[in-house]
């Protein structure tokens, strides 16, 4: 409660407005605040750029949880409608991206359960639970040194790797072929750039589990790239 002295000298009680959603957002996520403000005024260009920016990413995320492509597309459509429904009440405590991603993951998970798709995100369960070395033991000597060492990727950079359509396709294929848990973790962490805590939260797995899955997934993708570059 706040008080101040009124014009007649009496102390009056002042009801301060609660900081509104827009204020919270301006303080925590300034770019989001500007975008949300534009969306709320019906700025179609703003919505168009939002959709163009996130649609493909949402589709990629949805496919972590639901089996087929058509179901993933439906989940993404539903997510956009839920974004519109929730936008006026969006308070900006989390960023817009985090908010949209959380709507997507909740819907995708529900859909996955409804379709009775059994997804095992844990590294400790499932068919690949047994020890999976990142590099085949045959590439090391008995004392653990490289006998078949990796080549120097001298002229390779991440950007150059992706210039080739076939290399991009290879990475996509390799990710798609990973066991569910590895695919989920590497998609969320490395492809979409979420942090470890967010990923543990979304997939309901422990931090150690998350790290094991990430490690295996990265090792497989590196290995696929190595073979691919050698063949060229």
């Amino acid at each position: 409660m706040y008080y101040r002295t009124g014009p007649d000298g009496r102390v009056v009680n002042v009801q301060l407005p609660a900081p509104d959603a827009a204020d919270t957002m301006r303080a925590t996520h300034p770019e989001d605040a500007a975008l949300v403000a534009r969306l709320l005024t019906g700025d179609e260009a703003a919505f168009r750029s939002l959709v163009e920016q996130y649609h493909g990413r949402l589709l990629r995320l949805a496919q972590v949880f639901v089996g087929d492509r058509a179901a993933a597309e439906e989940v993404v459509q539903d997510t956009w409608l839920a974004v519109l429904t929730g936008l006026r009440a969006f308070e900006g405590r989390s960023g817009l991206k985090t908010w949209i991603f959380s709507i997507l993951t909740n819907r995708a998970k529900t859909r996955g359960q409804r379709d009775k798709r059994v997804v095992t995100f844990s590294a400790l369960l499932g068919p690949h639970a047994r020890e999976e070395p990142p590099v085949p033991p045959s590439r090391f000597t008995a004392s653990g040194r490289w006998s078949e060492p990796p080549e120097q990727w001298d002229d390779v950079t991440p950007e150059r790797l992706l210039l080739q359509r076939e290399t991009r396709a290879l990475i996509d294929r390799t990710i798609a072929g990973l066991p569910d848990g590895q695919r989920a973790v590497v998609t969320l962490r490395d492809v979409e750039g979420l942090d470890a805590a967010e990923v543990c939260n979304i997939l309901e797995i422990s931090e150690t589990n998350q790290r094991v899955l990430l490690h295996r997934a990265r090792a497989r993708i590196r290995s696929a790239l190595e073979q691919h570059l050698r063949r060229r």
């Binding site: 019906g42 179609e44 919505f47 168009r48 959709v51 163009e52 649609h55 493909g56 990413r57 589709l59 990629r60 597309e73 459509q77 956009w80 409608l81 519109l84 429904t85 070395p133 990142p134 590099v135 033991p137 090391f140 004392s143 653990g144 040194r145 490289w146 060492p149 990796p150 080549e151 120097q152 990727w153 390779v156 950079t157 991440p158 950007e159 790797l161 992706l162 290399t167 991009r168 990475i171 996509d172 590497v186 490395d190 492809v191 750039g193 470890a196 790290r211 990430l214 490690h215 990265r218 090792a219 993708i221 590196r222 790239l225 190595e226």
Partner: protein, 76 residues
């Protein structure tokens, strides 16, 4: 002493900063001496870098137009 084989097993722990200071020092010492493991670490970093730059598919125009129509309705 960390072997090359062991290094490939703990590389994510290293990159994630989930190593004790002693293990980290052992890792750094090995990398400093072993060009093969330097190459492996570099390959791993390039792999991670490429994953983070994978372009998402673009939205098909008809899907985008449907969503824009929903946006207009919503705004009405």
């Amino acid at each position: 002493m960390l072997t090359c084989r062991q290094l490939t097993e703990v590389i994510t722990d290293y990159l994630e900063g989930r190593m004790s200071i002693m293990d980290r020092l052992r890792f750094r010492a090995h990398i400093g001496m072993c060009r093969h493991c330097r190459a492996y670490l570099a390959q791993m970093k390039h792999t991670i870098g490429a994953l983070g730059r994978l372009p998402p598919e673009t939205i098909p125009p008809d899907v985008r137009d449907q969503l824009l129509a929903r946006f207009r309705d919503w705004n009405r």
